[in-house]
Symmetry: C2
Subunit: 161 residues, 2 copies
C-alpha cells in the first residue's frame, strides 16, 4: 500500500466522524501564512476548528506573488481581516542558499530554476521582511498582520516584535 | 482578545501535549498541494502525524510557480517522492472569474491585479490540469502524482481518475 493509499484509507475514518458542513467564509476572519514544514499541524497548534481560518503554505512561508494572490482572494472574496505569519526553527531553507540550491537542481535535472529559492538565514528577520511586504501590498483591504516563529523542538509559538 | 491572541493562547495548550521533535525530512516522503480553504484540516482528514508530509496550500490549490518552487525544494532538499493534490467542492474560486475578481479588487483598492486569479469552474478538470502541469515540470525528481477532490459537505475524499 502506497503512502497515498494509506491517506485515502485514513480519510474514510475521518468522514465517519466528520463534524459537518461549514460556511466557505472563515468564521474567525483570519488567514494564516506558514511554511510547508511537515512538523506544523496548524489546526492543532493553534486550536482551530473546521471552518475557522484560511491556511496558505509554501516553502519557507515567504511572501510571494502567489501568497499575495491568495490573501487578496481571502480578503476581497471571503472576508478575512487578520493575517498571522508562522515561520519556524530549523527550516530547510536556512540550510541552503539560492545558488547552492540552483546548482543542486541543475546537476540533477539539467535545468537551472528560472525562479529564486527565497532562502533566508534568520527566521525572525524573514518574518519582519514578510510583515513589511504585506504592509506594502496595494491589493489588500486589511494589513492587520502579526508574525511568529514556531519552535519545532518544543511546540511553542513566539511572537516576533 | 483578538482571534490571533486566542490562537496564541491555544498554542500554550498544544505545547503542553507536544508529541516531541521530528526530522526535517518528511517521514512518509509525500508533499500535499491543497486549497487554502478553512474547511480542510489536512492532518486530521488524511491521518497525518507530526513530521509525515509537506503541506503546500494556496487559493484553489492550483499549480503556480511558487508551488513548483516548493515541490522542488521538497524533493531535492527534503527527500519527498509522492505528490497528492487536494481540490474541494464549493471552492471560492468557482464562484467568480478572473475579470470579475480584477474588477472587484480595482474598485476597492484603485489597483488592478498584475497577476491572474486562476479561477476554475470544474474542480475535477482543474485537478487533471494540475497533474498535467506537474508531469511537464522540468525541475522535479519524481512526478508520481495523484489527484483528489474533497467533499466539504461529507468529509469524503474522491480520487480523480
Amino acid at each position: 500500500m502506497s503512502e497515498i493509499d494509506r491517506m485515502l484509507a485514513a480519510n474514510e475514518e475521518w468522514a465517519q466522524r466528520f463534524p459537518g458542513s461549514k460556511d466557505v467564509r472563515p468564521a474567525r476572519k483570519v488567514a494564516i501564512v506558514s511554511c510547508m514544514d511537515s512538523r506544523m499541524p496548524l489546526f492543532q497548534m493553534l486550536g482551530l476548528e473546521v471552518g475557522d481560518a484560511h491556511v496558505i503554505r509554501n516553502a519557507g512561508g515567504v511572501i510571494t506573488e502567489d501568497v499575495v494572490r491568495s490573501l487578496t482572494v481571502s480578503q476581497h472574496v471571503l472576508g478575512t481581516r487578520e493575517i498571522l505569519l508562522v515561520h519556524h526553527t530549523q527550516c530547510g531553507l536556512q540550510a541552503t542558499d539560492d545558488n547552492a540550491f540552483a546548482d543542486l537542481v541543475e546537476e540533477a535535472t539539467g535545468r537551472r530554476p528560472a525562479w529564486a529559492l527565497r532562502a533566508f538565514k534568520d527566521a525572525e528577520a524573514d518574518v519582519r521582511e514578510s510583515i513589511r511586504l504585506i504592509k506594502e501590498s496595494p491589493y489588500l483591504l486589511s494589513r492587520d498582520v502579526r508574525g511568529t516563529v514556531y519552535d519545532v523542538a518544543t511546540g511553542k509559538l513566539t511572537e516576533v516584535e
